[in-house]
């Protein structure tokens, strides 16, 4: 046994014939922030609910700080959960929501009030104590929900799509806030999300979940640069995942062969955006294609290029780059190509 704070072994949850979580093993160390990334329906919320004790397991075990949690009801687990749309108590004001956990734990009122004040300061909502919940904006509600979860001083904090309904600038700011607060307090956090930006913004490590199974666990950078499989690349929404014919352990790309550990036949590679560029000098080895479309992205333009063999790739181009219909030459850095044999 390792000494991870949270140890999940062979966790399985079924809904009738559907297996929502399929034998997951997961360790989270004390002070670690783990993001579970998966498309909707991948079982990530169910995983959280199972750890929180809100969802009975069909098989497997959950240990928190070495203590088995089976049979322990949610209110005795010391696990905090921030719900997807916050589930704030509509009949209590901000302070009433944040102070709920301390009150349940019979913390003396003066101490509880101090804790509420400190947490509202932490989430930058000083003076919001008496505000009714329905007068708060989405972002403010999200901060209240975070403060409420923290006020109960859980050993482990679970976040379920914490920034789901918010618009992007706010989402990114709040993700950074959560990251800051988690580091400040040394919290152990498991956050589930379907958006890789969010996952990367808050997490030390990312676990990719699909159809109830764990596909990859690594740092955000490693997951992004070296997806373990085609499905991981799809879940991450990576561009330029293209098929290649394989013969004798080599995949033939338009730019030359790359090593790939796959049987003869067809396999896949991932060409990260930095691996491709428009060829400059005429003698640079490159492949000719036709621009099929352009997407302006603010600091650059991504162009879609249809290569001679029919594959379409996205290539970064300058802002006043080629226009659709124009012929371009695409060069590749073979070292950056990621083989995706499975």
């Amino acid at each position: 046994m390792t000494d991870a704070l949270l140890q999940v072994r062979d966790l399985t949850v079924r809904f009738g014939p559907v297996t929502a979580v399929d034998g997951i093993d997961l360790d989270v160390d004390e002070g670690e922030v783990l993001a579970v990334l998966g498309p909707s329906g991948s079982g990530k919320s169910t995983l959280l609910r199972a750890v929180a004790g809100l969802q009975p397991l069909d098989a497997g075990t959950v240990h928190l700080a070495g203590r088995p949690l089976d049979g322990v009801p949610p209110h005795r687990r010391q696990v905090g959960l921030m719900f997807q749309d916050h589930a704030l108590f509509p009949h209590r004001d901000v302070a009433g929501n944040v102070g709920f956990g301390p009150r349940m734990a019979r913390v003396p009122p003066a101490e509880a009030a101090e804790r509420v004040r400190a947490l509202l300061a932490l989430v930058e909502l000083e003076g919001y104590d008496r505000r009714p919940i329905h007068t708060l904006s989405g972002g403010e509600q999200q901060r209240v929900a975070l403060a409420r979860a923290l006020a109960a001083q859980p050993r482990l904090l679970l976040l379920d799509e914490p920034f789901g309904a918010l618009d992007r600038p706010l989402r990114e700011r709040l993700a950074a806030d959560v990251r800051r607060i988690a580091c400040q307090l040394g919290l152990t956090v498991v956050a589930v999300t379907h958006a890789h930006r969010e996952a990367f913004a808050i997490a030390d490590r990312v676990a990719v979940l699909d159809r109830g199974r764990l596909l990859q666990r690594d740092t955000p950078a490693a997951v992004w640069r070296r997806p373990a499989s085609r499905r991981v690349a799809e879940v991450l929404g990576l561009p330029n995942v293209v098929p290649v014919p394989v013969h004798g352990g080599r995949g033939s790309t338009p730019w030359g062969p790359v090593p790939i550990e796959a049987p003869d036949g067809e396999s896949c590679i991932h060409l990260p955006i930095p691996a491709l560029h428009l060829a400059g000098a005429a003698d640079e080895p490159a492949v000719t294609g036709v621009v099929a479309g352009t997407a302006f992205q603010g600091d650059r333009t991504l162009i879609r290029v249809a290569l001679a063999d029919g594959t379409e790739v996205q290539v970064a181009a300058p802002l006043d780059g080629p226009v659709p219909g124009q012929e371009v030459r695409v060069a590749a850095d073979l070292d950056q190509i990621v083989p995706l044999p499975t």
Partner: protein, 553 residues
């Protein structure tokens, strides 16, 4: 693997525990008395005696009663929809000064005691009425009074859905090329249809079992099943016929409740509601529509009550106005067969209604809590059963009390008898008010409480209870108003030395003399003021952040 199944078992056990008291109460004070009186009519000392069936089927008079009951209910329902749907539209879609007060006021007629409604329309449309038309003993008086009485059912049921309908679906239809009337027909009406059908079913139910209104306004020619059951039992002592009629009514009501329950389940699944979307009337046509509807509501809902007040102040034919009738409320009136003064009767009424309210709210809340636990057919069957008292002849319940509650303990002289009967009648209203609110509580709020350290009991206290407090208040208000006005069962079991106000009003209206009718009108005003005050109070308070809609209260 068995965790979930065990959970289901726990759920069923918890439901059974919650249901134990309500079911015991309804068995003792509803099923047992009603079964007793019905069986009493269908048996004699030799065994089954089904002569009542033949007598009912063979009697042209009784067939006429059944036919009249049916068509007046259908006509009342159609008229009520015709009058109340435009009102529902105005109250659901438009914002104007005083809207909340109007919305609360509209509810008042529904909780008025039926005898008060009868008295008001007798004053308005009867001989010596201010309009100069005498519709007393005609079907028109009955129909208009039923529209007055049931208006709120349609406005609340349909309006509650209407105000939450997303207007953009209609706008989408317009953008897709549908003219306005077409958009209404293709989009809005289908969305409202379940609520309209549900409201219609309830209005039909109330008018089908109408007693107080018909008794006062119908005269000898217009008799409903309910009134006929009373006549057969109390006046003719013909229990066999009364039993068959009660069974007939029960069967019709059970069928209707089945249809209504089905429609309601569909309506719950069908539409998604948003927050109310109201706007001010902008065009001249819209302003005209709002004003015309408000005027019509005022005319229909206020006039009868105003006339009631006026009549209570009338001293005698052509003798002007005064407080004679009001002063006489403290005195016992000879010849009414009652041994108490109207003021003493008022004391009785308030006491009985208070006890009945406590009973109905406590038992109804338990039942509603049981019904909101997840469950399939069983829950639905219980749900329907809990509504049965609503459609059962209250007169039958009353007579059932008299013959059934002598063993094992003789309760017939007990002061609990009337509150028990009133609680039976009020219970379905409580269940109906509480269930949607309990259902609307987001289960994740309980889960949030749990992960924050609240035990299930604590979570119930901290989350469920505060969220249903307003609904409890509304339920209590309605239960009180209904108990206060209950007439059918009370008139049968009330003892001459302890009558309630509706009973006294009925007796006074049955006596000749201006002072008697003046007192009846004065007492009606008193009841009207009390019930209106109670309902306005709870409605204005209870609506503030009332999340649940779709219920008919």
């Amino acid at each position: 693997m068995s965790a979930r199944r065990q959970g289901g078992g726990r759920g069923a056990a918890a439901r059974a525990a919650l249901l134990a008291l309500p079911v015991a109460f309804l068995t003792a004070f509803f099923a047992w008395p009603v079964a007793n009186i019905v069986l009493e009519g269908l048996r004699d000392e030799h065994g089954w005696d089904l002569s009542g069936v033949g007598e009912v089927l063979g009697s042209a008079g009784l067939r006429r009663v059944a036919w009249f009951t049916l068509w007046q209910a259908a006509a009342s329902t159609a008229l009520t929809l015709l009058v109340a749907l435009p009102a529902a539209h105005v109250l659901a879609r438009y914002e104007f000064r005083g809207r909340r007060v109007v919305q609360a006021l509209v509810t008042v007629p529904f909780v008025l005691p039926t005898v008060v409604v009868g008295a008001a329309f007798l004053a308005l449309l009867g001989p010596r009425g201010p309009l100069g038309v005498d519709l007393d003993d005609t079907v028109w008086a009955i129909l208009i009074a039923q529209v007055f009485f049931n208006h709120a059912v349609v406005v609340r049921t349909v309006g509650g859905l209407w105000e939450g309908l997303d207007e953009r679906t209609e706008e989408a239809a317009r953008v897709l090329g549908a003219p306005r009337w077409r958009a209404v027909r293709e989009v809005t009406l289908p969305a409202l249809r379940p609520a309209i059908a549900s409201a219609a079913a309830i209005v039909f139910l109330f008018t089908f079992t109408s007693f107080g209104v018909v008794r006062i306004l119908g005269g000898p020619r217009h008799v409903t099943l309910e009134a006929e059951i009373y006549r057969q039992t109390a006046d003719l002592l013909n229990l066999p016929v009364a039993s068959v009629l009660a069974l007939l009514q029960l069967a019709a009501v059970a069928a209707l409740l089945g249809v209504q329950g089905h429609l309601e389940r569909r309506s719950q699944a069908a539409v998604r509601l948003g927050p109310p979307q109201r706007r001010r009337a902008r065009t001249r046509g819209q302003r005209w529509w709002v004003r015309a509807n408000l005027a019509a509501m005022g005319l229909l809902l206020v006039t009868p009550l105003a006339v009631l007040v006026e009549r209570s102040l009338r001293v005698g034919a052509g003798a002007g106005h005064g407080l004679a009738a009001w002063r006489a409320l403290g005195q016992r009136t000879a010849g009414t067969g009652l041994f108490v003064s109207p003021v003493e009767a008022l004391g009785n009424s308030l006491r009985f209604a208070a006890v009945a309210t406590v009973l109905a709210v406590a038992l109804g809340a338990l039942a509603a809590a049981a019904l909101t636990r997840p469950g399939g057919r069983v829950a639905r069957a219980i749900d329907a059963t809990l509504l049965l008292p609503l459609g059962t002849s209250a007169v039958t319940i009353g007579f059932g009390f008299l013959i059934a509650l002598d063993e094992p303990i003789d309760l017939r002289a007990s002061p609990w008898l009337i509150p028990a009967a009133q609680a039976v009648v009020a219970l379905p209203f409580v269940v109906r008010t509480m269930t949607p609110v309990l259902r609307s509580i987001d289960p994740r709020l309980r889960e949030a409480a749990a992960v924050l350290g609240a035990s299930p009991r604590r979570a119930w206290l901290e989350v469920d209870l505060p969220l249903v407090r307003r609904a409890l208040l509304v339920a209590a208000g309605f239960a009180f108003a209904i108990s206060l006005g209950e007439f059918g069962a009370t008139t049968v079991i009330a003892r001459a030395d302890a009558p309630t106000v509706p009973v006294v009003i009925d007796r006074l209206l049955g006596r000749p003399g201006a002072l008697n009718s003046g007192q009846a009108f004065a007492l009606s005003v008193v009841l009207m003021v009390i019930t209106a005050a109670v309902v306005l109070l709870v409605d204005l308070r209870g609506r503030r952040d009332h999340q649940a809609r779709g219920g008919w209260l």
